[in-house]
């Protein structure tokens, strides 16, 4: 049976930690290694930071987080209603092993791709951006 947890935070940097805390609580009793939990926290943080930086320019709007835990995976969805960003704006194939820009910012999506099992970036017609991150439970 799937279990759903939702959280809505202001698009401000100081609230990103709440997403990590919620995630830690959700996966505590599940078959995740410490490394897998760390990966998921990192991916969640990058997704939230992208919303705050690129969608809302740091201090406007809300970021909606949902966590769905099932028997074999946890899926995190990070949704904003801001101006958004596009993968093509971020990736830099000639830089680094996962295609990151060696500059401040710009590494987020590449890091997410590297640490989760499934990743999707959507721009719904209603506006904003939805990042969906899935991590499978450890065997």
């Amino acid at each position: 049976m799937n279990e759903l947890v939702t959280l809505e935070i202001p698009a401000k940097a100081e609230y990103v930690v709440l997403g990590r805390l919620a995630l830690a609580g959700l996966v505590r009793e599940r078959r995740f290694s410490a490394d897998a939990v760390a990966d998921l926290k990192l991916a969640l943080t990058e997704a939230c930071s992208n919303s705050i930086r690129h969608a809302y320019d740091h201090d406007k709007g809300q970021v909606h987080l949902s966590f769905v835990a099932s028997a074999d995976r946890v899926t995190v969805t990070v949704r904003d209603q801001g101006g958004g960003f596009h993968e093509d704006d971020i990736d830099c194939p000639e830089c680094g092993s996962v295609g990151v820009k060696l500059s401040e910012g710009g590494m987020g999506i590449s890091i997410i791709r590297a640490v989760v099992d499934e990743f999707r970036l959507d721009h719904p017609e209603s506006g904003g951006t939805i990042l969906t991150l899935t991590k499978l439970c450890d065997a």
């Binding site: 940097a13 930690v17 990192l42 990058e46 939230c48 092993s97 990151v100 060696l102 500059s103």
Partner: protein, 136 residues
């Protein structure tokens, strides 16, 4: 404000006194030699806390340090914002023929550098003693 603390505690900083005591995150700047700075961090470095890290690192460089050690031994989480600060600091130092060294003991922290493709951007050493020895 961290900026005010840094300005007021200029003398204390050289003695290694903590600049920021907010929960979950601390940053400290020490100057063991004229051309060496050690930025020691504790807790989590993310979009919220990285500006204070950037400020301490920038201050060490502004004061003339050309060999900067960033000690992440007590850091439990870093994201791309923290990596960006490190990359920016390393670039500034290279312009002055300097270098930045990261101390990271936890495999989890070192792994993030590998994921981001930053393994070759600066030296990553296991202990502060190793980094200080390399500075001599």
């Amino acid at each position: 404000m961290a900026e005010q603390a840094i300005a007021v505690d200029a003398q204390a900083r050289h003695e290694g006194v903590c600049l920021d005591d907010r929960p979950q995150f601390r940053v400290q700047l020490a100057r063991p030699a004229d051309d060496v700075a050690v930025v020691t961090l504790e807790g989590e470095i993310d979009l919220y806390t990285a500006p204070r890290f950037k400020e301490a690192l920038g201050q060490g460089i502004d004061e003339g340090a050309r060999y900067v050690i960033v000690d992440l031994s007590s850091v439990t989480f870093v994201d791309s914002t923290a990596l960006g600060v490190l990359v920016g600091g390393a670039r500034r130092l290279r312009l002055h023929d300097g270098s930045l060294v990261v101390v990271a003991g936890l495999d989890r922290i070192r792994r993030i550098f590998e994921i981001a493709g930053l393994g070759g951007a600066f030296a990553i050493l296991p202990t502060l003693d190793d980094a200080l020895a390399a500075a001599r």
